[in-house]
Symmetry: C2
Subunit: 489 residues, 2 copies
Amino acid sequence: MTQFAAIIGGGVIGGGWVARFLLNGWNVRVFDPHEDAERKVDEILSNARNALPRLYDTPMPVEGSLTFCSTVEDAVRNADWVQESVPERLAVKHATYRAIQEHCEAGTPIGSSTSGFKPSELQTDAIRPQDILVAHPFNPVYLLPLVELVPSAVTPDAFLEEALDLLRGIGMIPLHIRHEIDAHVADRLLEAVWREALWLVRDDIATTQEIDDIIRYGFGLRWAQMGLFETYRVAGGEAGMKHFISQFGPCLEWPWSRLTDVPELTEALVEKIARQSDEQSGELSIRELERLRDDNLVGMLRALKDRDSAAGEHLNRHETVLMPLVTENNRHADPLELYDVQVLPSWIDYNGHMTEFRYLQVFADASDALLRLIGLDQEYLASGHSYYTAESHIMNRSEARVGERLSTSTQIIEADEKRLHVFHILRAPADGRVVATAEQMMLHVDSTTGKVCPALQSVMERLEPLAIAHASLPCPDVVGRYTGERKTA
Amino acid sequence: MTQFAAIIGGGVIGGGWVARFLLNGWNVRVFDPHEDAERKVDEILSNARNALPRLYDTPMPVEGSLTFCSTVEDAVRNADWVQESVPERLAVKHATYRAIQEHCEAGTPIGSSTSGFKPSELQTDAIRPQDILVAHPFNPVYLLPLVELVPSAVTPDAFLEEALDLLRGIGMIPLHIRHEIDAHVADRLLEAVWREALWLVRDDIATTQEIDDIIRYGFGLRWAQMGLFETYRVAGGEAGMKHFISQFGPCLEWPWSRLTDVPELTEALVEKIARQSDEQSGELSIRELERLRDDNLVGMLRALKDRDSAAGEHLNRHETVLMPLVTENNRHADPLELYDVQVLPSWIDYNGHMTEFRYLQVFADASDALLRLIGLDQEYLASGHSYYTAESHIMNRSEARVGERLSTSTQIIEADEKRLHVFHILRAPADGRVVATAEQMMLHVDSTTGKVCPALQSVMERLEPLAIAHASLPCPDVVGRYTGERKTA
């Protein structure tokens, strides 16, 4: 049965939770009295729909239903999870929990997006304190997998385990913080950097733009895939981590005094930061910045996914959860829709259009998605078997523009133990036009000898039902065409 | 004339500088009295050769020469740039500068990799203080573009500008820090995080693994492409940066007291971190971790490059500097040999071979070379005329390996005013084998309407003689083949 999440508070964070649950197939009810809440949530959802599915090489589950409610009661009744993202004022949070717990069942987990409060503070005077815990996510919630899950001393172990599982189910990485402290872990690190950055701007050592450049051209790239300690471990080299710390240690005592002091947020400092930020990013609207951010995150996460490393390893794991659903859904006679893509700036040629070899890149990715679907995983490749593309015939039908979304559909024309003959259509869903088609012949090979050999049973078991289903589809009229063939009248 | 860098100190950072200069075509001389220096530099170079070229879609310059010197004098004589990366002890640095400046010419820039000292401290008692500045890079120096360039009050403006240009020339992003302070900018931010992280480990709130996970699954991904301030600007949403700071500001006064305190690096704390780090990463050697890091960095940087965003924008800019002029080869011999290429590391797929869409990239480049040969220049394109590829049929015949040189030959099968039908063969000249073939149909179009139209006379005058000459060549037997056609016996 479809599960159902209640989202209390629909701002940037609440809206991100809506998208995360909805796109993972949950039904969602939202309560937020703000008059703009529905519009804002819709905008976040539109960003999320544009980004999250691009992380996976398999379609996402069918989206759940979204309902805006006018009372907390309507929102939380029979919820499987309640997520609270109201403003960071303890009295407001306490009142919210009372309203929630008067109407939801005992044992319903209530996660708080709080970045500062400890769970025991949230639980004070609650009807059922043990049902409330911290589930602190990171913006954009629909793309970044981390969520800090912080229980208090009264949280039952089994309850915590269920919460961890539930969050994993929507593609997140819940990190159990064992001891509650103010601001949990991530925001303490962020706060430390934020303070130091404020000093640097206040003292005119660097502008907001320069500080951002220092992060994104330097250590930010390291942290995105390894974090702090592993990066230093590598930097320490063969001498080891202990040697590295002993070297680095003495610096802690050096007179870099600003580090241990708290800057006063005067009106002048606030103005200065806002002005520098406008100069830095003001030519882009927040929506444009969000899209830029999401697009970069998708690209970097996909790069990590290709390498099965860091957050990419997690995405691959979650994909194996999503995958079987799709195989089930695809056991019928429709071309497979396995791969969507957006035209990137680097794909554009001097004619201003998507350049021809990028079409083949997309078709090759669609073929890869099909191969994964029929069981060509790391283990299969490691066993010395693979499919190689023997030939491809591409017809360019219309132009694609930068930023345009394209979707592929894949039809199996013929398949036996050695040959896999497919036909892909690349469409622009915005207007339905066909952008290009590709006919490909793939051969199953023993990759140690490079010679053609029969596919193993594990692959044939998945390939055959698809091939049989597709045999009843009409054959596209350009299959079998040769290059330059004139149309018959 | 090839420029020449002297690298004084060949550890992790010095070795990274060696690789950065060498792979960008500079000659390099190294001085490091450590007995292992040559081996360590070689290992870093091997990592760099495996990583840096994968960031570009054009070959890197021919590598410079590398020489290990037994004296500072031999290393620095006639150097265009001297980079000092000796241990962080001021007396050692001062002695090093004296040795350098006794033997290099006046005006030779000496960059220091120091992470802590101010340039004015480094310059004290130097022979030519004005030639010394801070050029603080980030590990791995061959991949991360950032370098903090910090002058002092005595640094001449023109000297600083030349240093900025020189570092840009080797693909770096030199950031001019206008006011010298202890630890410059980046390391102050890093130090702030490091202190807080030490507290968290010391107090058993989180392990090194958990802290790294929190960074790489959460804010590290944000920072790698936007940094701190722009990320918060987006998080602030429509209400703007000022609103965001006013909201965030009060937290600075909250009692997250560890943030303003300095942890004592006791033996027990050092042991604990080293042990947790071993548990986290101990199953991989430092070399393996380095390769993992480099591979992730290459992937993320390429993702940003495809989007022309953040550090990727910089890579694209540098690529236009590296891009060799395409030699137009006007030999009218049958078939035309217009385009050679080397298989880049980024062209390799999970089977360990050149991936299929890269074949079409090479064939498309060969077609472009043909089009340039028949007069399709910027002026012709600007007149609203171009050739579009209508269809392509590619046959993959054998595998290509990374680093292999490939050459194309192009035969015109048929050409009239509207159609240009060509056949390319991609060969590995080393053993003469055919790697792939492509049959392509190009159509001459009015690029404003996208409709087919006759080519202008200037093009036809060059195309016709070639087409007539090629008409006497035997037609390749796979021309006119359709996908999956069985060979006739």
